[in-house]
Amino acid sequence: VSVAVPPTTASPAAPAREPWPLMRGAPTDAALTDHLLAPLWRASRLWWLLFALSTLGTLLLLGTVTYTVLVGIGTWGNNIPVAWAFAITNFVWWIGIGHAGTFISAFLLLLNQHWRGSINRVAEAMTIFALVNAALFPLLHLGRPWFFYWLIPYPATMNVWPNFKSALPWDVAAVTTYFTVSLLFWYLGLVPDLASARDRAPTRRRRLAYGVFAMGWHGSGFQWERYRIAYVLLAALATPLVISVHSVVSLDFSIAQLPGWHSTIFPPYFVVGAIYSGLAMVLILLLPLRRAFRLYDIVTEAHLDAIAKLMLAMGLMLTYSYVIETFMAWYSANTAERYTYLTSRPFGPYAIAYWIMTILNVVSPQLFWWRRLRTNTVVLFLTSAGILVGMWMERFIIIVTSLNRDFLTSSWHIYIPTWVDWSILAGSLGLFGFLFLLFVRFVPSVAISEVKSLSIELSQSPAGSSDA
């Protein structure tokens, strides 16, 4: 099926201080729909290559997870004192990434940020897939994962309930709630686009498949009215969850009295870090997608600029958290606290991870003070990749360096990850890629209906400029 591709001018250097347009050109609705649905009907060679790679990664994950469940988590490098390590690091990291989707779609929807319309679909899908990965780890890291459901409050015949004093049952509740709402929100946003796909599907089988998932959407005013109300309500429900999930996750650490965990700043600190890493992942996914699907007119410099500004803000807040927790450790005059923050982390066995984290999370976003760099796709991509690494290191440092040298010096011990640890991390990236590639292949990766309505809005308003 040949699709008329609207003419594009690739990233022209706009005059300084001129606001970036939110959309370029004035395509017709039909042309927009055709353009945005095009990837659904034909897969490129690049797609197949990446899909093959990510399938291998997924198989690696499957293999190592099976091995771990069969043999025991002794296959990992964990020990006493470092009883949590890669699995929980990965968990917190993926959960953090999962924050940006709902942040962008729900938070910004309520704040009336129009620019979100062209990127929210990607961000939401990313959230879902990141949560799938995240949910795997707490399950997998259990000594007896087959009893995971004991953490869920259900009326057991023995009358045993989870321990509500512990943060972990709350963690389970927070993550499952967030996942459910995110999934619903994503699906609700998809319905009109699935209907478009149904209407333009080239084969009967596809028409049928998209038809089932479109649930009879035909775009009447009545449906749109109900739809808008439902969407905003769900957004209102999802917005507090963005804040609560990572706050609860942070309590997994801060309710402990371990130096490095025992800190009241954790909830906001974790939420900020989560959104930070999530935005970085959005860029990592969006920039190649923009190029591959030629979305330059829909995802413009205005979007990149807005995301980069948000990242800079988050980076500064995170830096503040780093400074405050270190200061408080010193101010407490507690030997163990001071040792963890002032000796073990910057100069201990994992000092390299600490300094990588500091450079990537604190120093690198400072590039975004420059408008030119905020729209330079290479800089954006590399900085985002760096921030993702830095945020992973941050969680590793919080978890491992707090545990490996705690109160009694006699129990101090190094933690060294095994090949299984590395493979599961690599495999989870593979699974993420696998799911994401399936997503861009079978689901419209830009919210077509929202872009169309934005297009109309822009054509009606004389300024047609960004409000980012």
């Binding site: 025991g72 002794g74 020990n79 006493i80 890291h141 007896r144 004991w150 389970v172 010096t409």
Partner: protein
């Protein structure tokens, strides 16, 4: 069809019942056929589920230690000390306790063989019967030789005597690698051994002796020593140690001098001169080495202190040091007037001691001469545990008719014609004498699991009566110890496990000018190492190398597991340019040895310690590939301190990774293990600010205090760091009592050892010669337990009597509890460590304690099974339970009584009395955990003339 019709429901149930009963019978047939008697009260019958205790003895290098062994349904499950036996006093050492696992070792030899073909006991006894053997060795037995482990057994002595009547010209040799001097143990020129009264000594100088942990009577000595330290303010003793390596005794010392082996001799020479200077008849010391110590302030202060306490002082020498050292020490004790008061001499009960024609050199000479046709080796492992330069293995192979009776098909078994599995001591009848001569009985608890034969059965077979009843033999030989022929007397002896006798006669040991005149030993040339070849604290001479409990037990000083190493001081390592794990090449004459270095603070400069017992190549699977065989470098029998061994970094050698349980040795300025000097402590009693008695910070909290618990007993423990010597007996006791799995070298290297109780060892002061504090660390049973509130499934909870309980079958394994435990005493089952236990190893498990599965957390329970058993027992007999009736396994094994357990509600108990001392404190109690385990700060008693600890 009719068949099935015949099988009615009733008959089916009958058949089922019968087969279960038969299966049950089959499972219980391990009780010896002979009548054996329980320790205190004989039950009317064996009650399933109720443990029975039997007294027996374990013999190590010839000397017996009295034990009480717990048995469940006929299988021994736990070895404890016999409270009445003089060598035990209720405590048990690590080897005694771990010998239980040896009993069940699936690697133990199971078949008799001739050459490589399977054979039978019948064939062996026929071939070795006098009728057959006389053909080979001559009518007078000229060609017959026996090689035994050192033994003090009257039973063996009788058997040998009767064998001697059959074969008047046969020769008998005794060998143990750690007692291989010219005449067995050192200072036994006349067959004499020193006996100490450590409790009577105010001031003790130990020169290279690990008398608190590594000599035959160490459990008793440790008790006597610690009794003088229990209440520091009244009559505390003082211990000086001069040694090359770092021993348990050295770590306990108030002052420790590290010196090379030859320097120990110079030190004693200078001491003797100083002491003799004031006496009427100065002892002449000739053949002096360099007088490097005459002006040493250390020696001056020590000599003055020793002399000030006259006869209440004591000098002790390491049992494997040169005879001249022992002569010097004896002379020092004479000069101090201590001889007869804190030290006296008795005749060694070991057979053949003091006779040069019974030692290994004599056997080697005889083998070289070729006159031996038949050599029967009973026990030991001479092909492995002899200096490689002796070439014993090759000589043994050339013996036409050789036999080896051993627990394992080890290195020696490969070199002999016959091999017969030997019975474990828990499977055989026997007897032996303790170090002080006490007659002790070895009583079997099970029939031989693998058909092994005991030494006495083999000797009887040689004498032509293979079916002689060993029990009758023991009964006969006990007559010599004062047991009478009437059954009550015999029963009483069996129940007690030994015969209390009058002290063995003291023998005067005169001065030995001839020994003093011997040339003094010298240190090696610069650049070389003086190496002490030493007993390994865990596997002894290698005979316990196949024991997982011992391999995994951290060395009391180095915390090394599953390995041995060249132990060198930091300065020597610096000189050699080596780091931990770098492989060294040691060379002595033509012999070389590649062995990794381990840097241990406190070892003498330019000296090294090398432990025997590793690098095994026999049929023992656990021991295989562990460590390096130091016997390969051992130059000659009897020489344990060898100077002038050249050393260099081995070219192209791989780095060796050690599995060490404690990798950080300092406290980083924290105060978890508190210690201070006696003077400071005394001042504190008068109100001065202190380290040991500093009050716990008051808890300011917005939360409610821990819930008051209602039970009449509130369990708690007090541990006295002042008497803890770090010997690690408690660790093995806990492992045995609580079914703690062995995880293996790789997992220990990953810090996954499962010990519920560990001994933390902290060093203070300069790395060259640090002070040591050892601290048993176990679950503190916090009233405000950090582990409890973080568990998402309530798998760890508090009991009404104050125990922090672990509910294994509720645990899902999040490990949050361990993360939040500030003491890091929780242990996790990373794998299914119990999955591959052999049938016999399963029998070693304590049936009162759950065996944990993969993926659950575990930790110290305060031996809850013992608490509940005592409660039930008291409940059924309707009497109130006293908290101090219960002894935890660690408390029971502790030779120094450093650990006491009891109830907080019983204010008159020993546990509570100790808590009233001002030096009591809770580790990390500033966290608000309210630990139920409290520690008493260690008080040192330094000489004010010297720097504290050095």
């Amino acid at each position: 069809v009719t068949h099935e019709d015949d099988l009615t429901r009733r008959s089916f149930l009958k058949a089922l019942g019968a087969s279960i009963a038969l299966a049950g019978l089959d499972g219980c047939n391990r009780i010896p056929a002979e009548k054996i008697l329980p320790f205190v009260t004989q039950p009317p019958e064996l009650t399933p589920g109720v443990a029975v205790h039997y007294a027996t003895s374990m013999v190590l290098d010839g000397y017996a230690t009295g034990l009480v062994v717990e048995a469940h349904e006929g299988r021994p499950t736990k070895i404890e000390g016999n409270p009445d036996h003089p060598a035990s006093l209720g405590a048990a050492g690590i080897l005694e306790q771990a010998s239980l696992l040896q009993l069940y070792d699936p690697n133990r030899a199971k078949r008799i063989r001739l050459g490589s073909a399977p054979s039978t006991w019948q064939s062996f006894t026929t071939a070795m019967s006098p009728a057959a053997l006389r053909q080979r060795v001559g009518a007078r037995g000229t060609g017959l030789a026996l090689l035994l482990e050192p033994t003090s057994s009257p039973l063996i002595a009788n058997a040998l005597a009767s064998l001697q009547t059959l074969y008047p010209d046969m020769s008998v040799y005794y060998y143990a690698p750690l007692l291989s001097g010219a005449s067995g143990t050192a200072l036994t020129v006349d067959g004499l051994i020193p006996q100490y009264d450590i409790g009577a000594a105010e001031v003790i100088l130990s020169v290279g002796s690990d008398f608190l942990a590594a000599v035959p009577f160490h459990l008793r000595y440790a008790r006597q020593f610690s009794d003088r330290r229990r209440t520091p303010l009244t009559g505390m003793n003082r211990l000086y140690v001069a040694e090359t390596g770092f021993s348990v005794t050295g770590a306990t010392a108030d002052h420790r001098l590290r010196c090379r082996p030859a320097e120990m001799e110079s030190l004693l020479e200078a001491l003797l001169e100083t002491l003799a200077a004031g006496s009427a008849s100065p002892t002449a010391v000739t053949g002096r080495s360099a007088a490097s110590f005459s002006s040493s302030p250390w020696l001056t202060a020590v000599a003055a202190d020793l002399r000030a306490h006259g006869g209440n002082s004591l000098v002790v020498a390491g049992e494997r040091l040169a005879p001249r050292v022992h002569a010097l020490v004896a002379a020092c004790n004479d000069a101090l007037g201590s001889t007869g008061r804190t030290v006296w001499y008795t005749r060694s009960p070991l057979l053949g001691v003091g006779q040069a024609n019974t030692n290994m050199s004599a056997l080697a000479d005889a083998l070289r001469g070729g006159g031996i046709d038949t050599l029967v080796c009973i026990g030991g492992n001479p092909s492995y545990a002899t200096p490689a330069s002796l070439g014993f293995a090759a000589m043994l192979k050339r013996v036409p008719n050789s036999a080896f009776i051993g627990l394992y098909e080890n290195e020696t078994a490969r070199d002999t014609r016959w091999f017969v599995p030997s019975a474990h001591y828990l499977e055989s009848w026997g007897d032996a004498r303790a170090y002080d001569g006490t007659y002790s009985i070895v009583q079997p608890l099970v029939q031989p699991l693998y058909g092994g034969k005991s030494a006495i059965e083999v000797l009887s077979a040689l004498a032509g009566s293979p079916s002689a009843d060993p029990r009758v033999g023991v009964k006969e030989s006990s007559l010599s110890a004062g047991v009478t022929r009437d059954d009550d007397s015999w029963s009483a002896a069996l129940r007690r496990g030994f015969v209390p006798t009058l002290p063995v006669a003291r023998v005067a040991a005169g001065p030995r000018p001839e020994l003093l005149r011997l040339p003094a030993s010298t240190s090696g040339p610069p650049g070389s190492l003086d190496v002490m070849f030493d007993r390994d604290p865990r596997v002894h001479d290698g005979s316990f190398a196949n024991n997982g409990w011992l391999q995994e037990l951290p060395d009391p000083v180095t915390k090394l597991t599953w390995d041995n190493a060249v132990l060198v001081s930091p300065d020597t390592a610096g000189r050699l340019g080596v780091a931990n794990g770098d492989v060294l090449l040691l060379r002595r004459d033509t012999r070389t040895l590649r062995m990794p270095a381990l840097i241990v603070p406190g070892v003498a400069s330019d000296a090294a310690i090398v432990h025997f017992g590793y690098g095994r190549t026999g049929g023992e699977e656990v021991a295989k590939g562990v460590g390096v065989d130091a016997y390969q470098l051992w130059p000659e029998l009897g020489a344990y301190a060898v100077s002038g061994i050249s050393v260099e970094r081995a070219a192209g050698a791989d780095h060796h990774d050690f599995a060490i349980t404690q990798t950080h040795w300092t406290m980083e300025g924290r105060d978890q293990a508190r210690s201070e000097s006696l003077d400071a402590y005394r001042n504190e009693q008068h109100g001065a600010e202190s380290q040991a008695t500093k009050p716990s910070r008051r808890q300011l909290t917005i939360y409610d205090p821990p819930q008051r618990l209602e039970s009449p007993h509130q369990w708690a423990m007090t541990i006295d760091l002042g008497t803890c010597i770090g010997c690690s007996a408690c660790v093995v006791a806990c492992q045995s009592e609580n079914n703690i799995p062995v995880v293996g070298r790789d997992d220990v290297a990953k810090s996954r050892e499962m010990h519920w109780l560990r001994i933390d060892r902290y060093l203070e002061g300069p790395a060259e010669n640090p002070r040591v504090v050892t601290q048993p660390m176990l679950c503190q049973h916090c009233e405000n337990a950090p582990c409890e509130y973080v568990c998402p499934v309530e798998a760890t909870e508090h009991s009404p009597d104050g125990l922090n309980e672990m509910i294994y079958n509720r645990c899902v394994g999040t490990r949050f509890c361990s993360n939040n435990c500030p003491y890091k005493v929780r242990r996790f089952n990373w794998f299914d460590y119990n999955a591959h236990l052999s049938e016999t190893e399963q029998m070693a498990k304590n049936p009162d304690v759950t065996v944990r599965e993969r993926g659950v957390m575990e930790k110290c329970t305060f031996c809850v099974q013992r608490i509940r058993e005592a409660e039930i027992d008291a409940g059924t007999s309707g009497r109130p339970l006293r908290g101090d009736e219960i002894k935890t396994a660690c408390q029971q094994a502790c030779p120094t009584n450093a650990i006491v357990f009891g109830s907080l509600t019983e204010r008159d108990s020993e546990m509570m009395r100790r808590r009233e001392e001002s030096r009591v404190y809770g580790v990390l109690s500033e966290l608000g955990t309210e630990p139920r385990v409290r520690y008493l700060a260690r008080i040192r008693n330094p000489n004010p003339q010297l720097e504290d600890g050095r």
